[in-house]
Symmetry: C2
Amino acid sequence: MKKNIKQVNGNSSKEVNAMTKKVGVAILGLGVVGGGTYQTLTKHREYYLKTQNVDITVEAVLVRNKEKAVAQGVPAEILTDNIAEVIANPAVDIVVETIGGVDAAKDYVLAALREGKAVVTANKELVCKYSHELERVAKRTGCGIYYEASCVGGVPIIRTLLDGVQANRVQEMMGIINGTTNYILTKMSQEGADYADALKDAQKLGYAEADPTNDVEGFDALYKLSILSSLAFHTKVPYTKIYREGISKIDSKDIAYGKSLGYTLKLLAIGKNTEKGIEVRVHPTFVPNAHPLASVNDSFNAVYLKGDAVGDIMLYGRGAGAFPTASAVVSDVIYAATHAEVKYSTFKNTATADSSVKFVSDFESAYYVRLAVDDEAGVLAKMSGIFGKYGISLVAVSQITQKKEPDDEGILRVPLVIITHKTTETQIKNAMTKINASGMGKVQAAIRVES
Amino acid sequence: MKKNIKQVNGNSSKEVNAMTKKVGVAILGLGVVGGGTYQTLTKHREYYLKTQNVDITVEAVLVRNKEKAVAQGVPAEILTDNIAEVIANPAVDIVVETIGGVDAAKDYVLAALREGKAVVTANKELVCKYSHELERVAKRTGCGIYYEASCVGGVPIIRTLLDGVQANRVQEMMGIINGTTNYILTKMSQEGADYADALKDAQKLGYAEADPTNDVEGFDALYKLSILSSLAFHTKVPYTKIYREGISKIDSKDIAYGKSLGYTLKLLAIGKNTEKGIEVRVHPTFVPNAHPLASVNDSFNAVYLKGDAVGDIMLYGRGAGAFPTASAVVSDVIYAATHAEVKYSTFKNTATADSSVKFVSDFESAYYVRLAVDDEAGVLAKMSGIFGKYGISLVAVSQITQKKEPDDEGILRVPLVIITHKTTETQIKNAMTKINASGMGKVQAAIRVES
């Protein structure tokens, strides 16, 4: 951080040597992440003094309900419900924002930056939608803004992109970056549970919210992918450019059929940077069972990267939770406290994409397609023929079972599963329209496949 | 890096803006890693200019054989066989050491640091054995010394320990940090190959050297574990404190038997920091098949960490090779070029361990023990009884096959595999001595088990 770091000279404590930095932190919001951050910072104060030579104290905690905060063990004298007081407090060098949302959080972060305080935030939506505004103000006052905790919890993926694999052109990124959906899909896959039951279970365990839309429809992953792909590809990737499809329509039948063919279903956030342009998408995806992402289960997250020098690397860990996320928040606090210089985005951080950058929308992907077909001779050849007509070659055609199942119109038909080679979105859509119009079969599910 | 960074002001090139840093690099040695580093730096010069705002040029390459280097595409005018020339070259800001060994490499690195040049090294033996000496000189001249490439190739494990999970007390670290042995063990496991054949195969593919001792006996992993555990535990962990056992005595039979019981054999580097002290060891280890490390195959590496806030995280990738290692070297070069301040070890970096730190030698581990026993009634009870007598409880006793096998003395006996709960080294050794003296069975193999 640039300023506000006080050198403690001549401090009489034997643990604080002459060069120890003293840093004051304010935490905005005492929810799951804010609470974890408070506890980590207070519990480890001596440890950071010893290992990082920095004395970090929590000087203020902004809450609406002071009584509840006192019950959580926060001393009353550092509690306040007045943001102006926090911003004006000269003992506060770093403001940690763990409120969430883009209303109050944005105002508070901007106020802190204007006052010359470094900001550490866990707020993916804020960073995704407004990092350009925040950074503009930060640059003016010379403050740092850090957001490791906004993506993939305690996994240091942002630090890795900034300072670990920056020698590479990152060609591809595939991530399981939402714990809620990974928990639900793991449950569906391992126990054969229906989506609705798996969701209920996730809600009971606190992995999913009462209104799960943000997670299950892929918005949470979308925000994170926007942040990560902007850093990976060194250009602004607005979330509006990202194709998005959630998991709420997934039939457990397809998870089982996919499994029998050697695939595992995951909600993947995918970013590719090819000669054709940038391709960014969040959707349910089959990966081969042997792929490292296939065995990332429950609420664990992982990001798989391909760099032109490093090859394939993967980072794996807890994507959410009080302490894993606090690990990222506090690591950023320590980074801000112990690094003299402030760095901003290495790309032109604007609201919209750079006009010179191409985005691929008619992207290529292999497909798993489940058809309900009439149990007639020649139907397999006919269906295969339609794919062929649209230039789509097939990896496998499999009549998983001879048992008829009711299709989406309630007609008893036989399921036929087709795995295609890579095809464009246009090709596959045309083929599926043709199949639905053929009178011999109906598309029941179409899920992309990556390898 | 602290100094020698030239600001290119008023440069007429439109790509080099007024604030672009110009940084000159010298590469010492043009072997696998040096060559990969040269190619990465030259190929990506424009890319780093654009994405990192730094213009990195290779100003000198130290080689013994200039003709060979020219054939590799290095311009003759930057080649030299004279280290003094490199050190004296004012255009060189950062010296990359990729010679290896601790003789010339050490002298050259010290000379560079004395001259005020930052050093990036891929040399695990040098950093492990002499980082205290190098750092002492570096501190005097204010230079940075960076060594991400010394451990686990392109996987940014050192950056993660320094700047990604530093909010945590790291409690445990388990790594597959040697690609040669992982290749050999994967081959033995997947194809049932003998050690000797798998080694030959690794040598043919260039994964193992003609004299493979350094890799297969665990020295390479030992150096890396010393570096990584010093950083993780914030105290010097000299390699002399690390227990070491290689894989050359591993019988493929035990890999197969372990597999049938649900375990995969890996050469693990293990560091634990418990209330009893620090425990560091490199040895063949069975891990449960479901453990994330079990599916790290071939020459891939991975480090698994447990932090008190972040929980379990894992970093996975290529641990060696020209470009993966160059990724780490060049990422360090960019880090040195773009970070103003220089940081040294956060622990007291000395040749020996801090006298206040305890190291655990009689550590606890579960065990896989294979016995050759007489095919007599009561032998299972008798053997189990000996373990019990030494306070070792058993997870499983399994007569894998009824087929007799020649034991290490050529006597036909029945194999009996025992999996123990955690036991101390003393306990297990005593039990094994007793078994060997019992006249009814002989210990054929004893392999530690982690979960």
